[in-house]
Structure formats: structure tokens, C-alpha cells
């Protein structure tokens, strides 16, 4: 059905009119289409690796045997259960250039904070920052797999004189690499479908200079603001293809890095 619509001129009410691949051709000539694709790619390229790093660092920290660990774990996990809309509304205010506490703290240490969501250059860093706040889910996954790493491997490495750093690089990371791959792929797929935060934080407009006009936001605008169901369907299918290609590429590239037990 969706594919059929993507080949038509269709406003959602009248009968769809078949126009062949016109909609796809229009998209490829549409500057906003390319901008939204680029915005999404830039966001994903920063948010996913940084998210993995932060989640991994937290998981390694939280895997230590200390008193009160379950409390710490809960505290880092809690932000990820906050409803997305609520988190977005909260972050708009948190990052308010003038009255927000984040820039207030930056001023305290002598840094003049940027305009965040009101500045085209800082919009995406603001959204990436917000995404790092809710890495709790990824962190829990890493934590679970860290606990599966056999203790005797560490003991053997210690006997060989390996320090904590080398143990992490040569034992921990290879063993949990399949989980990391899984979260990277989920992150990529999620990144390309980034919508709610961008919609809420910019009031559905795409923000200053369209810096937050993400792919799915543009798709939504096409479908429900401009009543171009055909064009939106075409966008949806192109998104599907993009996600598919990126996932396959990631799998291919990952073969060199990911270690599967028993191979």
C-alpha cells in the first residue's frame, strides 16, 4: 500500500493519481530532503558512538564491587525511562541560553554557553547531549554482558601481569563486542527515525535555520502539513532502503571487530 502511494499524487482525501517515479525524482531535486538527510546523518554519526562510549564507561564503573551499587545503577538508568516528550520539554528549559541552569553552571566555570537550541550550529550538539542523558538502556545491556565475562580470564591475565587498562581492551571489549554491535545497530536505526524530540523541542518547525529538520520530521511535515502523502510515502521507502544499507554495511565492517565466542 505504502509503496503504491509513493508512486502517486495523493493528498489523503481525493483518489490517488498514478505518477510513476515522479515523487522520487522530486525528492532527489529537493534541497530540504537532502538537508534533512544530512541533519539526520550528522546527528546519528555523533550520537551513536558517543552513546556507546558513555554507556560503556558507565557500565565499567558500575561493574565494580562497591557498596550501594544498585542505587548508583538506578540513578543512571532513571533518565532513560522518562517519557520522551517530558524529557524534551525539560531539556528545552535546562538548555535555555539565558535562564537555564546548564549555561549558568558553564558561566560559573567561566565559559560563555552557546545558544543551544536557538543557534543553528549548536542545535545538534544539544540534541546529542540530551541523548547521552538517556543511555541507561544501553548501559544496562552492557552491564549484563559484563557480568557474563568469565572471572578466570581476568585472573589469567593478572598472572601474566596485565593492568586494568589492558584487561579492559583485550578481554572485556572483545567479549562484549557482539552486544556493542547490537546496540550500535539499534542506535543507527533509532537515529534515522529520530522524530519526537526534534518535533517537541522545535514546535514541529525544524528549529533555527532548519538545523533540527530531521528526516522523519520532514516526512511528517510532508504528509500532514503539506498533505503530500505520495511524497511522504516515497520518503518512507527511501528511509527503509537507507536503513537497510547502513545496517548491512555495519554488519560487514563489524566482522573485523566483533568477536563471537566459539569461533
Amino acid at each position: 500500500m505504502s509503496f503504491h502511494y509513493s508512486l502517486t499524487e495523493f493528498d489523503g482525501t481525493a483518489k490517488p493519481v498514478f505518477v510513476g517515479v515522479d515523487k522520487y525524482r522530486q525528492l532527489l531535486a529537493d534541497e530540504l530532503f537532502w538537508l534533512s538527510l544530512r541533519n539526520t546523518a550528522v546527528y546519528t554519526v555523533f550520537a551513536v558512538p558517543l552513546g556507546v562510549l558513555v554507556a560503556l564507561a558507565l557500565a565499567l564503573l558500575l561493574n565494580m564491587k562497591l557498596r550501594g551499587m544498585s542505587l548508583y545503577r538506578a540513578m543512571f538508568f532513571v533518565p532513560s525511562v522518562v517519557p520522551v516528550v517530558a524529557a524534551s520539554v525539560l531539556w528545552v528549559w535546562f538548555l535555555n541560553p539565558q535562564y537555564g541552569i546548564f549555561n549558568g553552571l558553564l558561566r560559573l566555570v567561566g565559559v560563555a554557553g552557546p545558544g543551544w537550541l536557538s543557534s543553528p550550529a549548536w542545535t545538534k550538539p544539544a540534541l546529542v547531549l540530551m541523548s547521552l542523558w538517556s543511555v541507561g538502556g544501553t548501559m544496562v545491556l552492557y552491564l549484563a554482558s559484563l557480568q557474563d565475562v568469565p572471572e578466570q580470564l581476568y585472573e589469567a591475565a593478572e598472572i601474566d601481569g596485565a593492568g586494568p587498562w589492558r584487561k579492559t581492551i583485550h578481554i572485556t571489549l572483545p567479549i562484549i563486542s557482539p552486544v556493542i554491535l547490537f546496540t550500535v545497530i539499534m542506535g543507527l536505526i533509532g537515529g534515522f527515525q529520530y522524530f519526537t524530540q526534534a518535533y517537541v523541542m522545535t514546535g514541529g518547525t525544524g528549529g533555527a535555520a532548519d538545523a533540527a529538520l530531521f528526516y522523519c520530521l520532514y516526512l511528517f511535515q510532508k504528509a500532514f502539513n503539506f498533505q503530500d502523502m505520495g511524497g511522504a510515502s516515497a520518503m518512507a521507502w527511501m528511509l527503509f532502503v537507507v536503513i537497510l544499507v547502513i545496517t548491512l554495511l555495519t554488519f560487514r565492517v563489524s566482522r573485523q571487530f566483533v568477536h563471537y565466542e566459539g569461533k
Binding site: 500500500m1 562497591l66 516528550v85 549558568g104
Partner: protein
Amino acid sequence: MSARGSARQRFARSTLSHALLIAMSCLFLLPFAWLVGTSLKADDDVMEVPTDLKVLIPKGRFAPIDGRPQRVSVGQHPIDYPAKIIRWDEGPDQGQIALIRASEIADGKVKKWLDRPSGPEADMFPVTVVKDVLASADSRWWRVEQHPDALATGQQPLWDCVPDSNVAVRFWPRWRNYVDGLAKYSFARFYRTTTLITIAFVFLMVLSCSFTAYGFGILEWPGRNLVFFIMLCTMMLPGHVTLIPVFILFKHLGWINTFRPLVVPALFGSAFFVFLLRQFYLTIPRSLIDAARIDGCGELRIWWQLILPLSKPALMTVGLFSFLHAWNDFLGPLVYLTSEKKYTLSLGLAMFQGEYGTEYGMLMAMTVLTVVPILVLFFVAQKTFIQGVKLSGMKE
């Protein structure tokens, strides 16, 4: 021979780790503190440029006026000249109050305005001097905050001139943000709507998914694996691909601006939850099911009386995550609900963020109310949460 060192080293290490963890927790919890702090602030307190962490604490300014401490706000330009507070009436219940330089009033008539050149023409009305203001270098013109109900009749806010040294700043949470927000934004209705939708959604979802999973996990029929595989393939499609055809479908059914598009799809289950439950059902011993069959149990009864009770942990996970989905869903309500009366919490919050974006106290109070049920749920069902995340790798 342990390379881990002496007890003292261990103590130092654990102290350091705790310090690091506490510092990072504070960083992660800062947005929450900011949220709750702002939700209890009055408008004048919200619009204060933060210079240190004390800004997290909601506070009010109080000054002795008419013999009792009253809250004042919006302190304006220093009044370091002889001045008078004057009052006039433009009509019944239309009392006005203003500050004027002593030199600008003569014989009960205003000669020139100090702070409102284009204000109401007070010289048309008889003016009475309320009191003389003692000028001092640190006096300011303050608005005296009265109970909001007192202002409901169109009465103007009171103003008075108070020296800074008489103004005390103290902890003062404005709980009214919650009351006002619930009334003004009709959040109470959003709450009801969201709760009803969520309950219906979870109920239908758990029922339909476990029913379907029974067909894939327990029953045996030709072509089962193929159908199961096709169902799994639907998981690969991004939601945005199906969004438009589904929207058109609901439009043809005349379901736009009803709750049906948000609830009825639960009846058709979710490929992912079916998969999750099927995997769980596969771990249930076949002998149990065979025994039930020998005892003459029908398939429906086996499902209802045997499988459902046995799969409680998995059902809890499905229930919890479909609860989260329904409670947090934004795109669905955004697309299908067009009248404000039918908004859900998420949609309402997002819309008010755009419309009343400056009333941060109330906006944050409503955000707190959206978050709290989920947080309570999290702390009650922490284990199920973590289990669910591990099972699914889902982030939302």
C-alpha cells in the same frame, strides 16, 4: 602476594570510586533537580539568571507591608527621590495604583507621569495620595503578590515601595503551579484520557500477544514457521513506512479524532512481543501440556488456565513495555487526535510547550506530573524493567 595492595590502598580506591560515581550521579540527576525546582517557582523567580546552584531552590521575596510580611516581586528601578503612591478609580472595581515623583503632583492633580507615559489618563480622575514614600538609595518599586483569587475580580495588583534591606529572601515553594496547571491546561482531563487509553491498550496487547504466541509456540500446524518468519519480517519495516497507509485506513473508517486508532491496533498484537512470549512458551515443558490434553482440556482452556499463569514474568514484561509505549506515545496522538479536548498527556505537554512556553513554573509542574507515574512504576517494578531491557534492548 595479591597485587591489589594493602587495605589502605583498597580503601583509597573505593573512596575515589565512590566520589567519581557520586559526582556523575549528580550530573545525571541535575536535570531532575532543575525540573522539580522550577516546578515550584513563581514566574519572577523563574526568570532569574542562574549564577550558582542555589538557583535550584524555589524562593520568594518577602517584605513587611501593612504590618505583615507579604510576597513581593518584580522589583523595579531604584526610588531614590521623594515620591508618592497615588490611587484613583476609573470605575467600579477599577482602582489603579501608581508611583509618582512628589514634584509631579500638585493640588491632587498629576502634572506628568513617571513610569507610564502612555498610561491611563489619571488627570481625568480625582487622585488620592495613599502615602508618601521615604526615599532611600536602595528602595525599589515592588509588586505585592496577592492571592490569585483576590485578583479575579479585575482588581489591579498592589504595588509598594520597599527598601532592599527590608526584603527578605527565603525558601518558598509555589505549590499552586500544580493546582493552576491542572486547571488551566486541563491536564486533569489529559490524565484521565491517557490512563484510559493506556489501560485498554495494555489489556488488549497482553491478551492478543499471548493468544497469538500460543499459536506459534504451543500449537503445531503446517506452515507455522513460515508465517512466524513473515511476522518477524514486519519488525524490520520502520514505523514511518506503515504510518501513511494506516492513517488513510483509519481516515476511511472515520476514526480520526477518536481514541480507536490508539487502542484498536493493540488487538493485533506486536510482532516483537509475540516473539518474546513465544520464546518463553517454548521453555514450558511439553509434558505439562500433553497431560492437560489427556485430561480433556481444550486448547483455549490450556491457554487460559495453564500457559497464562505459567508465563506471568514474561507477561509482566510485555505489560510493562506496552504500558510505557501507550503512556509515552507521541506520534499516534499527534496524527490522530485533532481536538484539544481529546489530547493525551504527551501531546498536551508538547502543545503547551509551544503555546505557553514562558510559564515555565506551570509547564515544569505538568512535566513532573507526566514523569512521576513512570518513576513510581520504575521503582516498584525495577526488576521487570531491567529484565525487559535486557530481553529487548529497547530504549523506550
